[in-house]
Symmetry: C2
């Protein structure tokens, strides 16, 4: 039996998908974030591919509604029968396929294929392989041992310790198959008036990450609260010297202080696309 | 000026977002994949926040339409004026906020906030920090040096070399803040009749990854085509022994052969959620 969510107040939001639920959850969260005063409790049902499973979920929704809970359902189900089962619940069901597929069918003068496997799955084999290779590349470079790989990189991020280089590189690799390397600015580098020699041949791939010292201190303190490393004074100095280096080398700079990993990564993607034009 | 896409045949699809465009691109791609016979050329415009930018994109769309191209626009723009500018183009515009926000407003009896910053951005600070920490954890464990960290892990993936452990762990960390460790099965381990001693205290966190030997060979051959490592015979043996080990230890098993990183990760997520019930 499908376990019911235990909730006292607020709304219950079901995300129901015949696949990973990644897209529908992101879409739903971004819509719900427009109603910051309401508390939402979310329940995710992934890989719902049979009427039996859908029926269990429908019963769970029905129980919640009978229990005077206000329920919203975001659904991403291709199979019309499975979708219909979810829609039989007496909650508001917002279905992305139903909303858009009809419009696209009319426009393209074609019937949608509605095969779940097409939506996700391995899909483009090359692209899957490329993402894996890009992740491995990023991991190799993160060791700082294989700097000869810099010639293979699409982008090289510079920055002081804990300013966001590694997760950003990994996100670029995992999501977009981009070969993203990073170069951690050591204290030695920070006293240089020019770029470290090893980076100079790759000037057009370089991007400097900066961060507000207060934010850096906060991040570092969570890891190693004591000592110079997480002191505000030290963070200020490091960031200041890194920024001087970026400026003297004429590098583009991104400030990671207020950005999520996704935002950093997509700004870098835009930067790469701009360069190609 | 916005550069126009150079396309000879097929449809042109614009993804226009006031933020990262990640959600709208995923949504659009999953809808378009239902029309496998049509070729789609995609153009992504991120961080479109001003009427001036929207106006440039509208002009680019208009030129494409005048050039007898068939254009579909997926838009994810909160600001009504910026969105209206895009909608003035004479192409089909599918806007996710317009489609769903009205329904949600009626349901919640509230006006949507429509502040771009709320949708993405740092958002929940703890969750951001948790994701970064989870990535660092995963990277530490990937070295295979800090196996004492296994006690901190939410999940420990076992598997032979190149079966998908590392990218899956990183995806779980980056997207969901899950502490995912991996244990690479060495040849020595594969001859064991029981789990390696170091893993035995964490039996309930273990999940075995398996893969079709043919697929493994294909992946390995791309990296090191020569030698035993990528030979089909060797891959068969390794996978076979790993599966015997999983079975004798009573571990849950996932087959990565036909799954994308996202699918592996979300199946593991479901597995973790099932355990909590």
């Amino acid at each position: 039996m499908t376990t019911d969510p235990q909730v006292d107040s607020g709304r219950i939001v079901y995300f129901v998908s015949d696949s990973t639920a990644i897209t529908i959850e992101k879409l739903g969260q971004s819509l719900l974030s427009q109603f910051p005063e309401t508390e939402f409790h979310t329940v995710v049902h992934r890989y719902v591919n049979s009427i039996t499973e859908a029926h269990e979920i429908r019963k769970s929704i029905k129980r919640a509604v009978l229990d005077h809970k206000q329920v919203i359902v975001f659904s991403s189900i291709l199979d019309a029968e499975v979708r219909a089962e979810i829609k039989k619940s007496n909650a508001i069901v917002l279905d992305i396929f139903e909303s858009f597929l009809g419009q696209l069918e009319a426009l393209l003068e074609q019937t949608a294929n509605t095969q779940t496997g097409l939506v996700h799955g391995l899909g483009d084999e090359l692209s899957y392989q490329q993402r894996i290779e890009a992740v491995n590349f990023s991991l190799r470079c993160d060791d700082g041992l294989s700097e000869s790989d810099y010639s293979r990189a699409d982008i090289i991020l510079l920055g002081v310790s804990r300013c966001g280089k590694t997760p950003t590189c990994l996100y670029l690799a995992l999501q977009y198959g981009i070969y993203a390397a990073n170069y951690p600015l050591t204290q030695e580098d920070q006293y240089l008036s020019a770029l470290p020699a090893i980076l100079q041949p790759y000037h057009d791939k370089l991007l400097g990450l900066t961060i507000q010292p207060e934010r850096l201190q906060q991040i570092r303190a969570q890891r190693r609260p004591d000592g110079q490393y997480a002191s505000l004074e030290f963070c200020k100095q490091e960031v200041h010297r890194a920024e001087i280096l970026y400026k003297s080398a004429g590098l583009p700079v991104l400030d990671s202080s207020q950005m999520s990993i996704e935002e950093l990564a997509t700004h870098i993607l835009s930067f790469l696309q701009q360069k190609q034009k």
